[in-house]
């Protein structure tokens, strides 16, 4: 191969992934290049460059209002970066899933119909029966199978958010973007769903390979992710990326490990200095 160090920048990066020392883990799922974004005069994102790999769980931490949700919207193609910015998903069989900060359920649909909604719109059409089966499976994952035919107004806020998570999972995403998905949940449900999400992500049976999760909780970010991305205040850029030296698969009780405390402390320090 003619690849030299200076070529690493552009097109070569995709070819580069396949050779030599790099393990399957470092195959790129999504690349953000020099992404800036302004709403009118207000600059929200400032030159964000980021590689996120397959089989990786990444958390994004940052002060409120710095542009975390905006960054996810960029990755979903709901917003376009300013000129010069670029977002690349190299994979051919890409399927994006999204959990918003709010549940965003249709009040006129039952729990199961809400979950089946993404399966019945757009290109990825399933038959009614298939969609229902998939939706039932996703409902079981979040433990709400008994509330299949309830409407959103009959469910608590936490249950609604679980429906929203199930809706994202039902569509078999390969890359799942989550915006504070557990923010509205109580501690018990939160911990349970943390590990359930990890199991789903680890499981070879699901198509899910990459998770990008925005969170306000330092503990949660350390417990769940391989890397934690710290964003600076607006205009936000990537302040630092901190790897989490915890063994995988993650288990209950790892919060007791010294490595956990160390990483949490490290992150706390950075939050302060921001």
């Amino acid at each position: 191969m003619l690849t030299t160090a200076s070529d690493l920048g552009k097109e070569a990066s995709r070819l580069q992934n396949q050779d030599t020392t790099i393990s399957s883990k470092s195959e790129i799922a999504v690349t953000l290049k020099n992404c800036s974004l302004s709403f009118g005069d207000v600059q929200v994102l400032n030159n964000v460059s980021l590689d996120i790999y397959k089989n990786e769980f990444v958390s994004i931490l940052g002060p409120s209002g710095c542009g975390k949700s905006t960054l996810l919207r960029l990755m979903l193609d709901l917003l376009q970066p300013n000129a010069g910015g670029e977002i690349i998903y190299p994979s051919k069989d890409l399927s994006l899933g999204m959990v918003f900060q709010k549940p965003v359920l249709m009040p006129w649909l039952t729990a199961i119909q809400n979950i089946a909604l993404p399966l019945t719109i757009g290109e990825k059409k399933f038959t009614k029966k298939e969609a229902k089966e998939k939706a039932e499976g996703a409902l079981r994952l979040v433990g709400l199978q008994d509330f299949m035919n309830h409407f959103p107004h009959q469910l608590s806020g936490g249950m609604q958010q679980r429906i929203a998570i199930a809706r994202a999972l039902a569509a078999d995403p390969t890359v799942l973007l989550m915006d504070e998905p557990f923010g509205a949940l109580d501690e018990f449900t939160r911990e349970k769903l943390n590990f359930e999400l990890l199991r789903l992500w680890e499981s070879p049976e699901t198509s899910l390979s990459t998770v990008v999760m925005v969170t306000h909780s330092i503990q949660e970010s350390v417990l769940m992710s391989n890397r934690v991305i710290m964003m600076s205040p607006r205009p936000a850029g990537v302040d630092d990326i901190i790897p989490v030296p915890l063994p995988s698969p993650r288990e209950v009780g790892m919060e007791e490990l010294p490595a956990f405390h160390q990483t949490v402390k490290e992150l706390r320090k950075r939050v302060k200095h921001l």
């Binding site: 999204m98 918003f100 965003v104 249709m106 009040p107 006129w108 993404p118 719109i121 990825k124």
Partner: protein, 250 residues
């Protein structure tokens, strides 16, 4: 359930009390019948012809109501899908709204005669605006994140319309429907005032010429009843269709 029944008893109780006081006042103070007939005087003049007049008015109003609302909803759908049309036509619709129906009604009779159609059109004209304004508002009232959800999963324009916009607009549509139930009756009666030989408006007009106040009262009460029936019907429908929203008014 129990509270609902007792809730209904309150207005009924007060109405009966009011009627009794009315009856007593008229009799004790000897008020002449052409000024204020007593409730029993009014009941005495009610016969089958009142019912047939009421049906005529109700039918005119209902036809106008249905056509106006279908037309208004379709216009609103066109508006939200085409900015130029909305910009061009909305001011005209507002101009139409500010023209008093009473001023237009004679023209309608000149054009369409004294029959059924002039009243239907009068009713349509007055019902059209509420549904148009509310539907435009409702169809635009979708949550931004809901739109993003549909976009993320590559929902088509048609899917966004049927599965998101239209259901979101329903509460707005129904509040317009409820407003226009009473307006529809007003439209029909104004049409009847100008030129008709049946309907409650006609009865009111003729009885006023003859100073036949009890008949006039019976027609006025019947017209109020028409509005109430329509309003109640729409409210029931609303409760069934928009089950996810609690509507507290009536």
């Amino acid at each position: 359930m129990k509270t609902k029944i007792t809730d209904a008893l309150y207005p009924v109780g007060f109405a009966i009390g009011f009627l009794i006081i009315w009856e007593l006042a008229v009799r004790l103070l000897d008020i002449p019948i052409y000024l204020l007939p007593s409730p029993t005087d009014i009941v005495a003049v009610i016969d089958s012809s009142l019912w047939s007049h009421m049906l005529v008015t109700l039918l005119e109003a209902l036809t106008g109501f249905v056509f106006a609302n279908i037309l208004g909803l379709i216009t609103a759908i066109i508006f939200v899908h085409s900015k130029p049309i909305e910009k061009g036509v909305f001011p005209l619709a507002i101009a139409l709204k500010t023209t008093p129906l009473v001023a237009l009604a004679p023209l309608l009779v000149v054009w369409m005669g004294t029959g059924y159609s002039s009243k239907v059109v009068a009713s349509m004209l007055i019902c059209f605006f509420p549904i148009l304004v509310n539907s435009v508002k409702g169809l635009k009232a979708i949550e931004h994140e809901a739109w993003e959800l549909f976009s993320t999963y590559k929902g088509t324009k048609a899917e966004i319309f049927w599965k998101l916009r239209l259901p979101t607009s329903l509460p707005y549509v129904f509040s317009a429907l409820k407003i226009s139930t009473s307006l529809a009756i007003v439209g029909a009666i104004v049409g009847e005032f100008v030129g008709a030989n049946k309907g409650l408006g006609y009865v009111v007009l003729v009885s006023s010429y003859h100073m036949d106040t009890p008949v006039m009262f019976s027609a006025i009460i019947a017209s109020a009843l028409c509005g109430l029936v329509l309003f109640w019907g729409i409210s029931q429908l609303e409760r069934k269709i928009i089950f996810w929203q609690r509507t507290d008014d009536l």
